[in-house]
Assembly symmetry: C2
Homo-oligomer: 222 residues x 2
């Protein structure tokens, strides 16, 4: 829900929780996790660091509010006029892409245990699992497995995005493939074997392949 005007040009408006969170997201997207600082944020909002504390309890709350806002935006797409597997794939890709756009939420999602963003994803997954006809006593396990896989890939993806800019992705994969191919044949026989596959690897399709793998395991539950 980004409004038209953003950043310093809003200098005149009064401070508000909404504006603070918005500016925090910008800072996180632009300067990375390390870039979110109360001083930097205050400067962007043309105020002092102390002012922020009147609207927000502290850095943790600010981070989870920012995560909430982003995940919310990522989940409001698509009504469920599709089959359950398709809906699950769409849901999973929504989270995947959101993390791709905002790597910092990968780290953040993991830190919020039963908190709202994760719970919302869990609920959506669970409904589709139910629609899939999974027996009652296996639904929790199925939804959890999907969620954990999604979060696991998300975290990994966030780390990669942090380490390697998108534009260098191909070079990076080639370099990694070369490294893997040169590993000790005794200790890393398997990894050497699959090194080639890394070269034309696409994170997104590989991610979906994993989802499908779990879906096929879920199908076997019936």
């Amino acid at each position: 829900m980004a409004t038209r005007t953003r950043g310093p040009e809003r200098r005149g408006e009064p401070l508000s929780r909404e504006r603070i969170v918005e500016a925090a997201i910008e800072l996180l997207d632009t300067a990375g996790e390390g870039g979110l600082t109360f001083r930097a944020l205050a400067q962007r909002l043309a105020t002092g660091p102390g002012a922020i504390y009147w609207h927000v309890a502290g850095k943790d709350e600010l981070l989870s509010a920012a995560t909430d806002a982003v995940v919310d935006g990522a989940m409001t797409t698509g009504t469920a006029d599709t089959t359950p597997p398709e809906a699950i794939r769409a849901l999973a890709l929504g989270v995947f892409d959101a993390i791709d756009d905002h790597p910092w939420i990968g780290t953040q999602l993991a830190r919020a245990p039963g908190q709202s963003p994760m719970l919302r994803i869990f609920e959506r997954l669970g409904r589709q699992v139910q629609a899939l006809g999974v027996p009652d006593d296996a639904q929790f396990t199925a939804a959890s497995a999907l969620l954990h896989y999604i979060l696991g890939v998300g975290e990994q993806n966030a780390t990669n995005a942090r380490a390697v800019p998108d534009t260098n992705r191909a070079d990076f994969l080639n370099a990694a493939a070369a490294t893997w191919a040169n590993l000790d044949p005794d200790e890393y026989a398997f990894t050497r074997n699959v090194a080639d596959r890394l070269r034309d690897h696409d994170d997104r399709t590989e991610f979906v392949a994993g989802i499908d793998l779990i879906l096929s395991g879920i199908a076997a539950l019936q």
Copy 2:
């Protein structure tokens, strides 16, 4: 491999990378992720903060060295005279328990993309996937899915351990179950439904159930 003597009583010995990493692990286990400080570490080693930098490049290197050491210890158990599924479960539980004992490695594992600890786990999983008879072109996906699931649960577990001491685990689950059961019936129909399951929930068995789910999906690949 922890030696008999630990901590301050070693004050006489010269500083070494090994001793520093050992002390760092102690500090992380005792005081949590926030407890690892160059000043605290220096005090424990009866020296100044600057001395540590002669043996270790910085905090990041220190954290990954500590993670390496712990994961190494967790993986040297059990030779593979079992069936592949059993070996995979044992491997997964080894990582799970290591994270349970040292919650900070959960966070740390995610931060080391193609780094050694993750790669070692990947290799082990891959070998078993291969032994399972998975076709060549699906082995990467299968091993990756297992790894991501394991890391996803691990992260989650680390967060829980951070938030809730082990002794309060049962109380915490009951409270969570109560919260879930009181969620809005429209927005959280599924979550409400499975709330009961949380009460006698066991993280470890639930974790293995997820592994089995993925294994059954892998079995369908053949």
